[in-house]
Symmetry: C2
Subunit: 308 residues, 2 copies
């Protein structure tokens, strides 16, 4: 079978750290081109300043991975879908819910695969956590997601702009795991968002959710953590406590702890290949809906300015 | 056929001005009880301080209309659905999207009717506008929704709290019409929200949307309008201009203008009865999703304090 000829659009940190290695490591894909107005591309791979230019003048492509900031992603995705090109959306899949729903409708109509990728769902501990929780009664969930923004998002101005999500850029990873492993739907009951006086997006958030059986879920999300970083989800159940740590890579159950290697992006590209080969899409907006709910329902407090 | 025994929960302005007259005017319904901790109810109708009390001690009911502020609506609706009682949700259907989605799942599971009511969709001009637009190419849409908050929401503190939506409380009516009459999905591209320095919710918003064919939609939403009030939607098409005014009651087409009487709440209760008799639900979250998108994506500006 011919490989899937894929272009990577946006060559920032996430594209170089994660997407390009995952594509290089998967024989189903062949990297056909890169696109970025800010970059000269990779040795030996055709490079274009815009998706337009690639589609007009470049080699034929079957698929694109959109690794740009979310604020510009809708137009790129719509342009690709119009040409029958399959689309991989980095998280978050868009700057608004309604644009993602519009893209999903369009992909269904033209019969092209659209994949809203949630990389943390492919962390090694997540699938077994979901299986283990499926049969349990959930009593209480605690999420602590605390990291140092200066380490993980150095100089990324877009992330502080409207549509850039601020601390929800990492926080949505926790929500993508939460909505995947819990057996019942969850909804937000209240939230407090801490917004630096000189920025548009939150640097921290304190959130309360419930599931439809009444279990309380608390989330402590903070970008001001120096020293040890925390990406932990603890679920108390009628059969003991489950703990996912290191962003989902390490799973501790009452029976013992599993450490696994990081397979997130290889897992995403394997999934994307399956969707394309099977003529299907996978566009789950639940994590972004919970973030939108936090912005809609949350109380805002102003905190000290953040200087990069 | 026995009438549907209905209780009205929350006896504020909207319940007294709209719901009670519409129920009284529809022979399919019989008002069985009212619920409010702040009120003594109506002559001759059993009254309860809480829904709990009604469900434990009151007359049997088939349905409830929830006319409380949105922040407390989820628990009331969940409680009713659990007892097999059909639920009418005043707009907005909840304080978050995720709680409405959770209620919809639950209603489907227990086989009870849930109705997220959008009263403006039942304004007389809306159905013919939708029919007329179905065959047109939409070129441009302009929405002007300007009213005086002191006239329409006197002393309603909850409306300024997180989850109370502020100026989107009326604005969501325009969005419920827009999403109903346009033939294609729309999504938000950017928004500016004006928040009084002493409040949590916006007093005005300037918003830009597009539909999936690229038509530009502008919305000017303002609560500071004194004098004449505006609730107008103008749609320019390849076959001329459509104008809905007075909140959807008056429809002007190139062929002439129709003025009609207000049938919004009678229309809603006729629809609710049909849903119950047919064993179906109707829970469209599109209008609330666009509002959540405005909170998620919008730029906030601080404006002068609002004193009631």
């Amino acid at each position: 079978m011919d490989p899937i000829h894929i272009a990577v659009v946006g060559l920032g940190k996430i594209a170089r750290d994660r997407h390009l290695p995952a594509i290089a490591g998967n024989a189903t894909f062949s990297l056909a081109a890169t696109v970025s107005p800010h970059d000269t591309g990779l040795d030996g791979i055709p490079h274009f300043a815009s998706l337009d230019e690639l589609l007009e003048q470049g080699p034929a492509i079957d698929a694109v991975s959109l690794c740009t900031p979310p604020q510009v992603r809708y137009d790129l995705a719509a342009q690709a879908l119009k040409r029958g090109v399959h689309v991989f959306l980095e998280k978050p899949p868009g700057a608004t819910l309604s644009e993602v729903v519009a893209l999903r409708d369009r992909a269904d109509k033209v019969g092209v695969s659209l994949f809203a990728a949630w990389h943390s769902r492919f962390a090694a501990g997540v699938a077994p956590a979901r299986t283990w929780l499926a049969e349990r009664t959930i009593e209480k969930v605690s999420i602590v997601w605390r990291e140092d923004v200066r380490v993980w998002h150095p100089g990324q101005a877009w992330i502080w702009e409207p549509g850039g999500l601020g601390v929800f850029d990492p926080g949505i990873n926790a929500l993508s795991i939460l909505t995947h492993i819990l057996p019942r739907p969850v909804f937000l009951t209240n939230a407090t968002l801490s917004i630096p006086a000189n920025r548009a997006a939150p640097i921290a958030a304190d959130m309360h959710f419930r599931d439809t059986a009444g279990a309380e879920i608390h989330m402590d999300l903070d970008w001001r953590q120096t020293g040890p970083q925390s990406w932990d989800i603890v679920v108390e159940t009628d059969a003991g406590t489950l703990k996912l740590s290191s962003g989902g890579a390490v799973l501790a159950l009452p029976s013992g702890t599993e450490h696994n290697e990081d397979l997130e992006y290889p897992g995403l590209y394997a999934r994307f290949a399956n969707l394309i080969r099977g003529g299907r899409s996978d566009v789950d907006i639940d994590p972004l809906r919970l973030v939108a709910d936090a912005f809609l329902r949350g109380r805002r407090v102003s905190v000290e300015p953040f200087i990069d």
